[in-house]
């Protein structure tokens, strides 16, 4: 196991290095050497320019710059953003990454929570009209043009029904004199969500031993409700409740959009995976053992069929930045995707490069996590 992880880490380092190289030379090849643009940027005071020139090593050759760049990245120095000068790129990313992460995590979990049982269900009922209907709907969600989905959601929920905001991160009017910075409130919000998630898992775990399904479910739900209640109470007591609620309110539609898209993919994958597993001989054995249909389906078929789904779920986390470009733009959600797009459009190259580098890191880490998770879930795999 350790050797496997070690090997993978080396592999990841090499891959990451190659990725960095591609990114560097891609930006190097851009018309109008971007380093010069940095110098010419009117936002940067003249006094800082000379210092910057030296600091940027602009007297070096391309190769020298390349070496510099790689060294900087590996030491965690992503440079300064043009747009947000003099903030560091890293600083901006630190602010934006949680927004993207929360958006996609919440959506992915919701998509999974709906897609997994539904895929399992229709695979079990395969060939019936319901199966076809839901499959087609799943394909539709999976292939829908994201801007179209976003526009439709905005049109229905924001424009016609007026239930939600049309976009943005918060309502400026409300935040004229905030008791705390939006960022810190958001981080607390994220922490609350993470806490609730853990709580729900723990509740499930703790009630596992309750024999009968009905009291078990009741206990689980009760615990979850208590958790949510406590969290709500905490926010209310802190006096920051309305502000937190404002952010949640804005998050609603983007989360819905991402959930719908991811839901289609999860459900289809689960269905196909189930269909393969159902044909296995051990499913017939399970039935022959006289186990109830539901036990065969859930404990025997779905458990094995889950494996590809977990992998895809983990891998998708790696693609939140490029996937987020469209969604975040449509809902003006200032996460990594929108930041990247903006940086490209206004030629804030250090920022754009920083975002890309981060994407690379995310993808690589996601791959590693997927491999490890797979090993945990599938006893056949021993590293």
């Amino acid at each position: 196991m350790l050797r496997f992880v070690g090997g993978r880490l080396v592999q990841i380092a090499i891959t990451f290095f190659l990725f960095l190289t591609v990114v560097f030379f891609l930006f190097q090849a851009m018309p109008g050497d971007y380093t010069k643009q940095f110098i010419m940027n009117p936002r940067i005071p003249p006094a800082a320019r000379e210092a910057l020139k030296v600091r940027l090593g602009l007297t070096d050759s391309v190769w020298g710059q390349y070496v510099n760049y790689v060294r900087n990245v590996f030491t965690g120095n992503l440079g300064l953003s043009f747009e947000h000068y003099p903030r560091e790129v890293w600083d901006v990313i630190k602010e934006r990454l949680p927004r993207t992460a929360i958006l996609f995590l919440v959506a992915s979990v919701m998509a999974f929570v709906w897609g997994f049982p539904l895929g399992r269900y229709i695979a079990w009922k395969r060939g019936q009209t319901l199966d076809y209907t839901i499959t087609v709907a799943g394909v539709l969600f999976y292939t829908i043009f994201t801007p179209l989905l976003a526009l439709m959601l905005l049109f229905v929920f924001a424009n016609q029904l007026g239930w939600f905001r049309t976009g943005g991160f918060l309502t400026p009017r409300l935040w004229l004199t905030p008791p705390s910075s939006p960022q810190s409130i958001f981080i607390w919000l994220a922490a609350t969500l993470a806490g609730l998630g853990t709580w729900a898992v723990l509740a499930r775990f703790a009630t596992r031993r309750i024999g009968h399904p009905r009291p078990r479910r009741l206990a689980q739900r009760g615990l979850v409700v208590v958790g949510v209640g406590l969290a709500g109470l905490g926010w209310w007591a802190s006096g920051l409740g309305p502000f937190a609620w404002d952010i949640v309110w804005h998050m609603f539609l983007p989360v819905l959009a991402v959930t719908l898209i991811a839901f289609g993919g999860d459900m289809l994958l689960m269905r196909d995976s189930m269909l393969e597993v159902i044909r296995e001989d051990y499913i017939t054995t399970a039935k022959a053992k006289g186990l109830p249909d539901k036990v065969v389906r859930d404990r025997h078929a779905a458990r094995t069929a889950l494996l590809p789904l977990v992998t895809s779920f983990t891998l998708s986390i790696g693609f939140v930045v490029s996937g987020g470009i469209v969604t975040e733009t449509m809902f003006s959600w200032k996460g990594m995707g929108l930041t990247y797009l903006n940086a490209l459009l206004i030629q804030d190259y250090p920022m754009a490069m920083g975002c890309l580098i981060f994407t690379g890191i995310l993808v690589l880490v996601a791959h590693l996590v997927a491999d490890l998770l797979y090993a945990v879930l599938d006893p056949r795999i021993v590293y």
Binding site: Y282, T284, K289, G290, P292, T304, D378, R380
Partner: protein, 321 residues
């Protein structure tokens, strides 16, 4: 009283090309603790019969008629709920694909415990010790219980699957080609072991194989299947000494003699029939050396030509091997 009486069981598979007549008017009976064998070429419907007994048929299968009386109850008419209680508790099975009968993501012992706890109200501890007992019976180290299937060798998996079939002490165990995937030595050892255990606990057993030699070793009575029919059924000695159905005779002569020449090609021209459109009359007539016009026109019925010796043929042969 007979433990199991199958009367005129008829089952078809619906396919795009029409119905596959996989089991057609099959009748036989089994006494408590008896070991019978079912033998026939690949595709003649052996597995279909077994699966029908457990009512574990694929969606496209349809039991068209007949009854399966088990301990006096007709399994065909049981509700799915009641049938679930019969499965494994009363009738268990070692599947043809025993290698893949174990779920790869659960420990083997756990999979057996699951079956035990489904049917017997015992604690986890008791179930575990029960599994350990059965592991010992089939010659497996009980320590292996907590391993995963992929950590077992082929022979070990086979034994584990047999232990699983024994786990609830069923009245009847169906073993569908329990050993074909194994090499001959292991095959022999396992077969003997099953038979000992079976006799010890007075369980009835139905062995299924395409190899009459394997069956002969363990079964007291043998049923010969051809194209969805049982064409001959008698005690093992009679089947070997006085086979009466031309197909059985052909099978026997395919049995390697001392000289080792396989005469099956000379004796049995043609191929097994297409069950989508089986031949008229006697299904064996296109390949039968004794076929007459009667055979083509009308199907023979299973009749008792000697005590306990049933044959379905217009012209049963009287000769000894």
């Amino acid at each position: 009283m007979a433990l199991l009486t199958v009367q005129d069981l008829t089952m078809h598979y619906r396919t795009k090309l029409g119905g596959v007549h996989a089991v057609d008017g099959v009748s036989f009976a089994m006494a408590e603790g008896e070991a019978i064998g079912l033998v026939g070429e690949s595709g003649c419907g052996k597995t279909s019969v077994a699966m029908a007994l457990l009512r574990l048929l694929p969606d496209n299968a349809q039991i068209l008629g007949g009854e399966i009386l088990f301990e006096g109850r007709d399994l065909v008419k049981l509700s799915e709920h009641e049938m679930r209680k019969v499965r494994w508790r009363s009738i268990s099975m070692v599947f043809q694909a025993a290698m893949n009968s174990l779920n790869p993501v659960y420990r083997v012992g756990q999979q057996i415990i699951e079956a035990i706890q489904q049917h017997l109200s015992v604690s986890e501890r008791e179930a575990r010790s029960r599994v350990a007992e059965h592991y010992n019976l089939v010659g497996l180290d009980p320590k292996l219980m907590d391993r995963y299937p992929h950590e077992y060798s082929g022979g070990m998996k086979q034994r584990a699957v047999i232990a699983m079939a024994l786990a609830c002490s069923p009245k009847l165990i169906i073993a569908d080609e329990p050993t074909t995937a194994l090499d001959v030595i292991v095959q022999d050892r396992i077969l003997r072991r099953i038979n000992e255990v079976r006799a010890e606990f007075n369980m009835a057993m139905m062995y299924i194989s395409h190899d009459i030699a394997v069956i002969a070793e363990v079964a007291e009575r043998i049923g010969v299947m051809y194209a969805g029919w049982i064409v001959e059924m008698a005690d093992t000695v009679s089947v070997f000494k006085h086979p009466a159905h031309p197909y059985t005779i052909a099978l026997m002569s395919a049995f390697p003699s001392i000289k080792g020449d396989k005469r099956v090609l000379a004796q049995l021209p043609g191929e097994p029939p297409n069950l989508l459109a089986p031949p008229s009359g006697c299904r064996f007539h296109p390949r039968c050396p004794h076929a007459t016009a009667e055979c083509v026109d009308e199907a023979p019925r299973l009749e008792e030509i000697d005590k306990g010796h049933f044959v379905s043929c217009w012209h049963p042969q009287r000769r000894s091997q």
